[in-house]
């Protein structure tokens, strides 16, 4: 049995914390080395914590002066920050596309923006709101083409995976007249598309990454459904390591038993601390933070790879996460949110 087939058959109990990341590919020696050099410029946890503990937005922004997110002299407004963060995100995605020798991998990661654009367009179309022009231009389908397709409702211009997503999302919405069904349907198509691509590319790492993400999404969905006391059991994504039966069982038991249900799985810590925080604070903040941390932990295991696409992909995802964290802290500071709340988002 080859690596990819073995990986596809792994269950939640077949590895300790993180799934395998696959082998080396010496064609990526240059790309990996460049990424390792750039990684040293990433913001340390200490800087992020200092930003969270800063008195106000201006003080938090000042801590970024020595970094690539530095604001122009004298400028301290949030719009400026947004622009810089968008520029950094575009730059990191461009670098990723340049370094990625396997074009299908770059295409796969660009598809994330296609799905995000589509989610927005379908929501607006079905709720009869103006289509707008604020679509991301980082996807495989250009933003202008997107508007044109949805205005003319000519979906045949879209790639196959998107046509499928449009069909499933529209059908799911009209079956229950519930806007959340659009998200569930698109999440499902996106997860299937990711897994299918990872198998086609025979990438053990991508398969592990997407299966882990499916598990984390399912765990979040389970706790949200539980909180809403919803009886929808068909919304869990398939293809993860955790069996759907376990997730459905989680809906029927008390919060105190949910952690134990995941005891033998790699997600015990995530679920246990997420549920405990939810019970005492009625907030999913900790769960979200723990899910992010688990995924980051998996991405960090690519350190053992000297050359391969894995460290490059990990860099893209960790850098995007860093940009999101900077935005989160500065938004919170701009809105004068409590420091404790921000620190909870960042984790201990």
């Amino acid at each position: 049995m080859n690596d990819i087939a073995e990986q596809a058959e792994l269950g939640g109990l077949d590895f300790y914390t993180y799934p395998p990341v696959g082998g080396e590919d010496w064609g990526y020696a240059f790309a990996t080395a460049q990424v390792r050099a750039i990684e040293t410029q990433m913001l340390s946890r200490a800087v992020l914590l200092d930003m969270a503990n800063a008195q106000n937005f201006e003080d938090a922004a000042d801590l970024l002066t020595a970094s690539e997110y530095a604001l122009p002299q004298g400028s301290r407004n949030f719009t400026e920050v947004e622009n810089i963060l968008k520029l950094r995100r575009s730059a990191v995605r461009k670098l990723f596309a340049d370094l990625m020798i396997d074009e299908p991998i770059a295409e796969l990661f660009r598809a994330r923006d296609d799905f995000a654009n589509m989610r927005l367009a379908i929501r607006r179309t079905l709720t009869e709101k103006p289509l707008g022009t604020d679509y991301s231009d980082d996807g495989n389908v250009a933003a202008e083409q997107f508007e044109q397709v949805f205005e003319q409702e000519n979906y045949s211009l879209l790639p196959d995976y998107m046509q499928q997503a449009v069909g499933r999302a529209v059908l799911a919405y009209y079956q229950k007249k519930d806007i959340r069904q659009i998200d569930y349907a698109i999440d499902s198509v996106q997860a299937e598309y990711n897994l299918q691509k990872a198998r086609q590319l025979e990438s053990v790492f991508l398969l592990g990454l997407f299966r882990t993400r499916i598990d984390l999404t399912n765990i979040r969905t389970m706790l949200r459904l539980k909180f809403a006391e919803s009886d929808q059991r068909s919304v869990f994504l398939s293809g993860g390591y955790i069996e759907q039966q376990r997730l459905k069982h989680g809906l029927d038991i008390g919060y105190e038993a949910v952690g134990a249900l995941f005891f033998a799985t790699p997600y015990y810590e995530v679920v246990e601390s997420g549920v405990n925080y939810f019970v005492s604070n009625k907030s999913f903040l900790k769960l979200e933070q723990q899910c992010e941390e688990h995924l980051t932990g998996f991405l960090r295991t690519t350190l053992q790879i000297t050359a391969g696409p894995q460290p490059v992909i990990a860099y893209l995802l960790m850098k995007e996460n860093e940009i999101r964290t900077v935005r989160l802290i500065l938004t919170a500071k701009n809105s004068a949110l409590e420091t404790k709340l921000i620190l909870d988002c960042l984790g201990e």
Binding site: W26, A29, F30, A31, T32, A33, Q34, V35, R36, A37, I38, E39, T40, T306, A307
Partner: protein, 163 residues
């Protein structure tokens, strides 16, 4: 040219060729990693240089073994190449194999170790010598052992004919 000399020359050729291929691959791997780091941190050139050239030594060892065979065959001396029995020809060929194979494999693996060292030096320059170079030298030891065996056999294990 007789059969024995042909076998000896195949041995010399293999030693230079295989160790040379290994070195080229090893330097290629380490070089690509080094350029990746240098594209962001050009000030690390000195540290990177040592680790890039280390896998090149096996190519020299192979060349040295081949040169020794040619010297023993009186390639560059007056009087021409002496006749060599088939048995001695096989002995020379066998003598060249340790450096040929040890050179090929160790250079490739040394290149990979150096690439790892280069990546580490990108993040922790103080460890570049301690881990990067020292670990690479440990791989080098086996190429040196291969060369020593080749040289011992060529110098002491074979009764060369006098020209």
């Amino acid at each position: 040219m007789d059969y024995g000399v042909a076998l000896a020359l195949v041995g010399a050729g293999l030693a230079a060729l295989m160790a040379g291929i290994g070195s080229a691959i090893g330097i290629g791997i380490a070089g690509r990693s080094a350029t990746g780091v240098l594209s962001e941190k050009p000030e690390r050139y000195g540290q990177m240089f040592i680790m890039v050239v280390l896998p090149g030594t096996q190519g020299f060892y192979g060349f040295l073994a081949a040169f020794l065979v040619m010297l023993k065959l009186n390639f560059f001396g007056a009087g021409g190449v002496p006749e060599l029995s088939v048995q001695i020809g096989w002995q020379v060929l066998a003598a060249c194999l340790p450096i040929a194979f040890a050179g090929l494999m160790s250079a490739i693996h040394q290149g990979k170790v150096c690439a790892g060292g280069i990546l580490m030096a990108a993040k922790r320059p103080e460890m570049a010598f301690k881990a990067g170079v020292v670990y690479a030298v440990m791989v080098e030891v086996y190429a040196v052992l291969g060369l020593l065996v080749t040289m011992f056999i060529l110098l002491k294990g074979i009764t060369w004919p006098t020209p």
